[in-house]
C-alpha cells in the first residue's frame, strides 16, 4: 500500500529523505540510496576554481537518484547570512535544474544551529524568486509559523545538532509543533543516529525524516539504509494506528476478575 505525502503538490512515495555525503565509496552510496528507496536525495555545492575530482561521488549520486526516480534537493550548507543563502540557492537551481532548495543558514559554529532571523529573511526572498523552500530550522513554534507564513513548502526542524546522532533531544517541542501546526508538512532533519530515533519521529506524527550521517557512517551503510527505511515505515504505521497513551500506573492486560487462583 502506498502511503505517500506531498511537497508543493508533488507526491513522494518514500518518507525517508537521504543525504549523499560521507559514504565510504561511490558504490556504497549508490547501494545505500537504492536500499533506502528514497525519493529525495540531498546534494550540495562548493567553491572551486579548478576542476577538482571527487572520485565519482557526485556522478554516482546523480545516477543513483535518476535510477529510482528520486528528486534532488540541493542545500545551502555553509551559508551564514540570508544574502549568501539566496545567492547560493540561485546557483543550485542552475546547476541542478531544480527550484527545490534545502535552506540552511547557520547561526552558531559550535552547534550549527540555524539562525532564525537570517533563515526567515532568506526564505521570504527565495519564495518570491519562485523557489520551493524546505528550511532546516529549530523547533521554535513561532519561528515555524513565520516560515509557513513566508510561504515555505514544509518545515524541517532539527532533532538534534547536525551529525550528532543524539536523536530527538526535545520531543515535547516536536510534539507541540505537530499539534499546533496540524496542516503543515513536518520533517525531522538532522541529529538522528539510530533507526529508533526515526521511528520515534514518525510516531510523533511527522511526515518524514531526513538524515545522512547515521547511514553514511554506519559500518554497513546499505544495511543501515534498510534499517532506517523499515523504521520509518514502522513509525508511520504506529502513528496511523494510534500509539496508546503512557500511564504512570499498571493496568492489567489479562481480563481476570478478582484472584486468578484461589489456593485457600
Amino acid at each position: 500500500m502506498t502511503d505517500s505525502f506531498e511537497i508543493a503538490g508533488v507526491p513522494l512515495a518514500s518518507r525517508f529523505l537521504l543525504g549523499s555525503a560521507g559514504y565510504p565509496s561511490p558504490q556504497l552510496l549508490a547501494e545505500a540510496v537504492k536500499a533506502s528507496e528514497t525519493q529525495l536525495l540531498t546534494v550540495g555545492l562548493k567553491r572551486s576554481v579548478q576542476k577538482t575530482g571527487d572520485n565519482g561521488f557526485v556522478a554516482m549520486a546523480l545516477a543513483a537518484a535518476r535510477a529510482q526516480g528520486a528528486r534532488l534537493l540541493p542545500n545551502t550548507a555553509g551559508c551564514r547570512s540570508a544574502a549568501e543563502a539566496v545567492q547560493l540557492a540561485c546557483m543550485a537551481r542552475e546547476l541542478y535544474d531544480t527550484a527545490w532548495i534545502k535552506l540552511e543558514v547557520t547561526g552558531d559554529e559550535h552547534t550549527l544551529q540555524p539562525d532564525p532571523f537570517e533563515l526567515l529573511a532568506a526564505a521570504s526572498e527565495l519564495v518570491k524568486l519562485g523557489f520551493t523552500v524546505l528550511p532546516y530550522c529549530t523547533d521554535d513554534l513561532v519561528l515555524c509559523r513565520r516560515l509557513l507564513d513566508a510561504g515555505c513548502a514544509v518545515l524541517m526542524p532539527w532533532g538534534a545538532p547536525i551529525g550528532s546522532g543524539q536523536g530527538l533531544l526535545n520531543p515535547w517541542a516536536l510534539r507541540t509543533l505537530r499539534e499546533r501546526l496540524p496542516e503543515a508538512v513536518l520533517i525531522v532533519d538532522a541529529g538522528l543516529g539510530a533507526p529508533s530515533h526515526a521511528a520515534q519521529a514518525m510516531e510523533l506524527g511527522y511526515d518524514a525524516v531526513l538524515l545522512n550521517s547515521a547511514v553514511a557512517q554506519a559500518r554497513d551503510p546499505v544495511r543501515m539504509a534498510h534499517a532506517f527505511r523499515d523504521a520509518v515505515r514502522a513509525g508511520r504505521q504506529a502513528w496511523l494506528a494510534g500509539v496508546m497513551p503512557a500511564q504512570d500506573f499498571a493496568v492489567p492486560s489479562t481480563p481476570v476478575s478478582g484472584h486468578a487462583f484461589v489456593l485457600s
Partner: protein, 68 residues
C-alpha cells in the same frame, strides 16, 4: 592594459574587457559544470558572455558536491 580580479580570493591578472564566459574558457571549465558569482551576486549562465569583468571584481565558481 590588464585588470586584476580576485578569483576565489586569489589575485589574477586578465586582459581588459574580458567577460565572465571568457574567464571560464581560460580556466578550461565547461559552462554547464559551474555556477558563477561576481561580487557576491549570482550571474546566470546566459548572462556570462555579457558580463565584462572589472578591476577588483571578486569572482567565485561553484560546482556540485555530495551533501546532507
Amino acid at each position: 592594459m590588464t585588470i586584476t580580479i580576485l578569483l576565489d580570493e586569489h589575485p589574477r591578472e586578465l586582459p581588459e574587457g574580458v567577460s565572465l564566459a571568457a574567464l571560464l574558457a581560460l580556466l578550461e571549465r565547461e559552462p554547464h559544470s559551474v555556477a558563477t558569482a561576481v561580487n557576491g551576486q549570482f550571474v546566470a549562465r546566459e548572462a556570462r558572455p555579457g558580463t565584462e569583468l572589472a578591476d577588483g571584481d571578486k569572482v567565485l565558481l561553484f560546482q556540485p558536491i555530495v551533501g546532507g
